[in-house]
Symmetry: C2
Subunit: 148 residues, 2 copies
Amino acid sequence: MTDPAGGRQNLGLLCFYPHRAVEARLFAALAAAGFDDITLAQGRIAARIGPGGTRLTDLAAQALVTKQTANHLVDQLERAGYVRRVPDPTDGRARLVQIAPRGEQVVALARRVEAEVEAEWTAHLGEEATAQLRAALERLREVTDPYR
Amino acid sequence: MTDPAGGRQNLGLLCFYPHRAVEARLFAALAAAGFDDITLAQGRIAARIGPGGTRLTDLAAQALVTKQTANHLVDQLERAGYVRRVPDPTDGRARLVQIAPRGEQVVALARRVEAEVEAEWTAHLGEEATAQLRAALERLREVTDPYR
DNA sequence: CCATCTAGTCAGATAGGCTGACGACCGTCA
DNA sequence: TGACGGTCGTCAGCCTATCTGACTAGATGG
């Protein structure tokens, strides 16, 4: 976050462009498919929901927002029919946030778009460079992602 | 934005972690140095200001926000003494947003932190892999950054 | 069976972002 | 040279995302 055009940009900023590009593509595709009542913030929370459902507290921690914010977003997602809350059988206090049928459709579409974008990038960079990029980013995640 | 832990994450999401890490480091360092009245959104706008100053409209376009939002953030930055607005000599309608002396200090600090983070990453990945990563990201920018 | 911890909720505040409408100024073309 | 469409920045009003702080209900360990 500090390089005016040209010159050597810092790696953090360089990472930003592809991320933003994917997010924008995803978002546009969802809107085009009729899922136009979902926001970026909601998507970022929804993306952390695991196969069997995930606790609110865990979602909040992984998305780096407070429980209140996560709760608020899950409320909206639930109202729109993308997720549902079920009691956690192993803990009476907790509830699991699960993907509802309508949400499954979104996930499926999102995966298709992601694959599409990746295919374009691979075409631009070449197979080998793309594989190296992925490997480098995965290793970098070890030191940059607090939840992993 | 759709992979629950494990498995192969999409490249867009993988790009997100390093970006967030740099931003967080930068932010913490600024706060520690006494620049605790600057917000992320302000920083994202300020980071686009070029050497001779940049028009509000350009800042807005590059940061992908509306002119109104950019204007609001520049107001705050100006009030805090980080930037100033001067008339654009070549266009009576426009004004240039320039970095003020206090802002220069921030830029200098930011560059130091960025260099520091990059050194850490290089230590983790190795010289060669880091160079490849940079090259791949730069090429990717050609197809993901609308303002290039 | 009490002390304490954890999951989630409620209330209120703020920042960041949008759309829409607008006045001032620019450039161009008849 | 003067009228017109486009651009630069601004004002007003609104919604969404996010935070801090205080609270309730269930869990857990002595």
